[in-house]
Symmetry: C2
Subunit: 315 residues, 2 copies
């Protein structure tokens, strides 16, 4: 069985055909070019998809992961900061019409956690929290084997749990959301704000990647930022453990490439926030799908649909 | 159809037979007398239950709500701060043996939210958060129609989400849990700590009830405490809305008797913490089952069992 996974990003669309052993047997990346308008983007995605599907002799399903607010049931992108002109656009139905294969659309962070269940560290688990640390912070939850969507399909906004009451203003209008600290944007800001206070720091550029590398090299500014980031993640993950009693927390997204220095700090801070009765009930890991997590996530939605096509999980 | 609901408390055991219209047709309260030991407590509960069941000509099921960590599947109280000597005691099987009717055991805060779904404000909803503000703070979650138990059955510890990082030390070992502020205990402490600073306050006793009454009467100390309590609840409920995208949040427990003064403040504070896209998706209400919420909660577990006796919701 093969499924096409389409990872729709603001800049690029990454596509890959995944087989049921988890191998990506064909792949293609095109530019998104949102500026051209929805019709044009759909046309180019469907053309590229056709080509890819043909090259592997057909697929049984197609999954798409998209940032923003998604109506999974109708296959509609309600709105997305990455595609400002797309309001209630029928992405899945349009692609399905052109490609003649069932297309499933899901929020990219939701798709991420389902991808981890199918192809990553989440295999065999029923209760998994996925957190993606990218430009923003996304979240997805599988509880008792089911993807948590919520009553109107907009749940699992884990980037917007408050970890620093009265903290930084967040894009969402609230203060002190996890996203204000633990996103790549948040990490850069912290480093810039603190740089004058750490004259011995060697940091010269303030990308999240450089800051995390600096922490790894025990640079004082890098360590300071890491401390605040891991503290924020420790509070958020601790809360999620008390709420969901999960077996696994998987951290993905670009920031997770920081690797062990981040993971160790997050594990320690989480443990500080977790009640004794929960010790030993959970594991925290970094996603090992990193670069292809978007394709795997999208494809896994297709596999889910094929495996349990009923609507019982739907809103 | 009739079910016996048993609300097991540290001081009293409240029992009531509930029919499927939600009427309590018979009731009885006995002392718990934990000091006598598990065997003796079980014996007295089963004797009182027998009497009650006989008085109504039989019941189709029995539900028990107990504080503490519960193994729902095996009907075992793993441990509970209220019953310090009970470690892994088979409460449901023992009662079932004596009474000859299926007995379902559940954590009391979980039972609370199921009770709201069956007999309270939650009728007809699929996504409900229940928060009980008592001596401690308990929580229960129904998501997509299912009670959230978590991978080892200890989830939905909503009293232990952090709302004040580095705040008061909580009984759980962490700092700044919701319970440290919004429980009856937390409210009393805040009032005592602040009393010297509010010489114009008329508060003389510092029970949560008096403090909330003072807030209602616009006493400055009462208002100050209410502000902090509602702020903490606003953060916690805001987070839960972002996570679960629920239709309803029901607040129960003794503190909820404060009524409108508490509800208005909590609604306002929650709205301050919730992203625009969630506005209009949820309602916050106080439980209207208050005094009988424990009986209704316990009985509703019996009704759930009768209506869907499969094990698919179980761990």
């Amino acid at each position: 069985m093969k499924v096409l996974g389409i990872d729709l990003g603001g800049t690029n669309v990454s596509m890959g055909v995944v087989d049921d052993t988890g191998k990506i047997v064909a792949r293609l990346t095109i530019e998104t070019r949102v500026i051209d308008g929805f019709e044009s983007v759909v046309k180019r995605i469907s053309e590229a998809s056709s080509k890819l599907i043909e090259s592997v002799g057909g697929v049984e399903g197609i999954g798409i992961g998209s940032p923003g607010s998604i109506d999974h049931k109708r296959g509609v992108v309600r709105f997305s900061p990455n595609f400002p002109d797309w309001i209630d656009v029928p992405l899945a139905p349009e692609l399905e019409k052109r490609l003649g294969v069932k297309v499933v659309l899901e929020n990219d962070a939701n798709a991420f956690v389902v991808g981890e269940k199918w192809f990553g560290s989440g295999k065999g688990y029923t209760d998994i929290i996925g957190i993606t640390l990218g430009t923003g912070v996304g979240g997805g939850v599988i509880s008792n084997g089911q993807l948590l969507r919520g009553s109107t399909g907009i749940g699992a906004e884990l980037g917007h749990v408050v970890v620093e009451p009265n903290g930084y203003l967040c894009g969402c209008g609230n203060h002190g959301c996890l996203e204000t600290i633990a996103s790549a944007t948040g990490i850069s800001r912290l480093a810039k704000e603190w740089k004058e206070r750490y004259p011995k720091s060697n940091l010269s550029d303030f990308s999240a990647k450089s800051v995390m590398n600096a922490a790894q090299a025990e640079d004082p500014l890098g360590l300071k930022v890491l401390d605040r980031v891991s503290s924020a993640l420790g509070i958020a993950i601790g809360n999620l453990i008390h709420i969901f009693n999960p077996q696994l927390i998987v951290i993905g997204g670009g920031v997770s490439r920081a690797g062990k220095v981040l993971l160790s700090a997050v594990k320690q801070r989480t443990r500080e926030n977790v009640m004794r009765s929960f010790w030993g009930t959970y594991k925290i890991v970094l996603s090992d799908l990193v670069d292809d997590a978007g394709i795997y996530g999208a494809a896994s939605m297709g596999f889910e649909e094929i495996n349990s096509p009923s609507l019982e999980n739907d809103i």
